[in-house]
Amino acid sequence: MSVTVERPRPLWRASERPAWEEPPTKAGLGAKGLIIALCCLVVLGPLWVVIVTSLSPRHVIDSAGGLVLWPEGITFVNYKELLSGGQVSRAMLVSLGVTGFGTLFSMVVSVLAAYGLSRPGSFAHRALLMALMTTMFFSAGLIPTYLLVQTLGLTDSYLSLILPSAVSVFNVLVLRGFFMNISQELTDSARIDGAGDFRILWTIIMPLSRAVIAVISLFYAVAYWSAWFNAMIYIDDPAKLPLQNVLMQLVQKNTALPTGLSQRVNAGELSALGLQMAMMVLALIPVAVASPFVQRHFKKGMLTGAVKG
């Protein structure tokens, strides 16, 4: 629905600065660039080292005495080992499954709720909205929640990783704010043509809200992918642990390795450090790949959330 205005390209860069603004000094520009470059380096540097080390063969890691700063000979052997069966492959599948199903479930519930609450003046609108928003200000506490999950018999079930954290009220409110901004005439005309609420939601609201739906899906997906605490307290069976928890075991016991690989490390074929780094990369790849795609929608989504939330 938005109208894009084609602006003429500026003849030279300086014209992007408004006329009344004094031209920047060279030192100021340099300092600014340096600070920004440093900030980016602080973020990217460690990731670079981790990725390079995960791609290095054993002898390079050994001669570097640990982490590798510059790649010499790239090998995917660490990834191949981790993904060819065993604990890590299994954990990866669990994480992907929980993230996939969880995000789908959360999105269905959230979009429905957001649409259901998007018409002020509908029946019980205020009460339902209050019931939703109040939960942002209190939490029942860890122990009662734990006892509840136990009572429901969800321990050791993947449902315990999805259901307790399925609804994020903040996300629902952002969606609702976006839905409320869609012009009333569109939905009214559809209603006059005989469309029900489900149909209006599916054929009018959803296609118009692709941006915010992409952003909120990413938020949910990242939350499910990064979660490890629920798995730690609710899941006992090691075969059901998600990737983050397997990685956590590496963090807490620095030397622990995924089962089955330590023999080959001892035999000198693989590097323990390389395997660890490869696991880290596996854990960060999905979010690092997905987030730039929805990045351009972030500000829009956050803005409506901030205004309407």
Binding site: R17, P18, W20, E21, E22, K32, I35, I36, C39, C40, V43, P46, L47, V49, V50, G66, L67, V109, L112, A113, G116, L117, R119, S122, F123, L128, A131, L132, T135, F138, G141, L142, I143, P144, L147, L148, Q150, L163, P164, A166, D188, G196, D197, F198, L201, A227, F229, Q244, L250, V251, Q252, N254, A283, A288, S291, P292, Q295, K299, M302, L303
Partner: protein, 342 residues
């Protein structure tokens, strides 16, 4: 009913009214004050309510129902009676305020509380200004491509899990990490920031800044984008320098956002880095790292002292709500909006 009368009539409502008029046969039944009855509104909006129910149901089950479970804080809960919590609660003796009395006399609790408050203050002082400074910096960048790229890079760590962030820090600053490795090559041994209890709280704050400071910039950038350029222009015409414009135009524009975020942060003061600390608790020991949330976890889930842990959690929750209300009140006193309106 009074509320209904004030509402502007809507197309859907009109349709219902028209149908109702046809059915009842009267000329204008809605001519009387109050408009349509709740029964008709319920019929009209039943699909909307139906759509809201799954979310409300989940919240009732996982957010409201556990509130009742706090009754174990007044019991001597015995988890071995049954794995069914309701049976176990019914079979556990009520002990009144005994758990709370234990808490007051428990040095570990006070230690956790102290760590929580100190950590909150450190984070408030060191973390809070970083996104504001970053936002001002990014906002002053003119070239759109540099702007977009630096934003994309700075947002990235927000999407990493705490497990990943802690692992990255361990690989950089740990005993076997990159810096220790470089120092060792130059003959300096024993560098390890990750197990140093003395600087642990600053380490946590550094991790937090690395992960979330870039992301927090978004809110401030949005606020900065909404400042009308005419204000800057007028100030510049009146001879205000760059810094004076920042002081007199930019900062006042950021004030409501800063107030809102401060209120939210103070309201959440007792919640400091639970997952993050849990991951590193072993490395530095409970004395330096235990906060209220991890204390609830370790006494309750780890040691099985459910009633005592629930009591600690309940106190934390009640104090938390009071803090939200107090912080909001304070924001109102300062003339800001806060989380909810007056």
């Amino acid at each position: 009913m009074a509320l209904q009368a004030q509402r502007p009539p809507r197309t859907a409502e009109k349709a219902v009214r028209r149908r109702e008029r046809r059915r009842s046969g009267t000329a204008r039944p809605d001519a009387r004050k109050g408009g349509i009855t709740w029964r008709i509104r319920l019929r009209r909006d039943r699909t909307l309510i139906l759509m809201t129910l799954p979310a409300i149901g989940l919240l009732l089950l996982f957010n409201y129902l556990p509130l009742l479970g706090n009754v174990v804080a007044f019991q001597d809960y015995n988890p071995y009676v049954s794995t069914n919590g309701i049976t176990a609660i019914l079979h556990s003796p009520m002990v009144g305020l005994e758990q709370f009395q234990r808490m007051v006399e428990d040095a570990d609790f006070w230690n956790a509380l102290q760590n929580t408050l100190v950590l909150f203050l450190i984070q408030l002082l060191l973390f809070f200004p970083v996104p504001i400074a970053l936002a001002l910096l990014i906002n002053s960048v003119v070239r759109p491509r540099v702007r977009a790229l630096s934003q994309a890079i700075l947002y990235l760590p927000h999407f990493f899990s705490w497990v990943l962030v802690v692992t990255v820090f361990q690989q950089m600053f740990g005993g076997a990490g990159l810096i220790a490795q470089i120092l060792q090559d130059h003959g300096v041994d024993g560098f390890d920031l990750m197990t140093d209890a003395g600087i642990f709280k600053y380490l946590l704050t550094a991790q937090m800044i690395w992960k979330d400071a870039g992301w927090a910039v978004i809110v401030f950038l949005a606020a900065l984008a909404s400042v009308s350029p005419e204000l800057y222009e007028a100030a510049a015409m009146d001879g205000a320098s760059r810094w004076r414009r920042m002081w007199h135009v930019t900062l006042p524009a950021l004030r409501p956002v800063i107030a809102l975020l401060l209120v939210l942060r103070v309201g959440d003061a007792l919640t400091v880095g639970f997952e993050q600390i849990l991951l590193q608790r072993k490395a530095v020991g409970a004395g330096a790292s235990e906060v209220l949330d991890t204390y609830v976890w370790s006494t309750g889930i780890q040691n099985g002292d459910f009633s005592y842990a629930a009591a600690v959690g309940l106190v934390k929750g009640v104090v938390g709500i009071c803090l939200v209300l107090a912080a909001n009140k304070f924001a109102h006193l300062l003339g800001e909006q806060g989380v909810y309106k007056k």
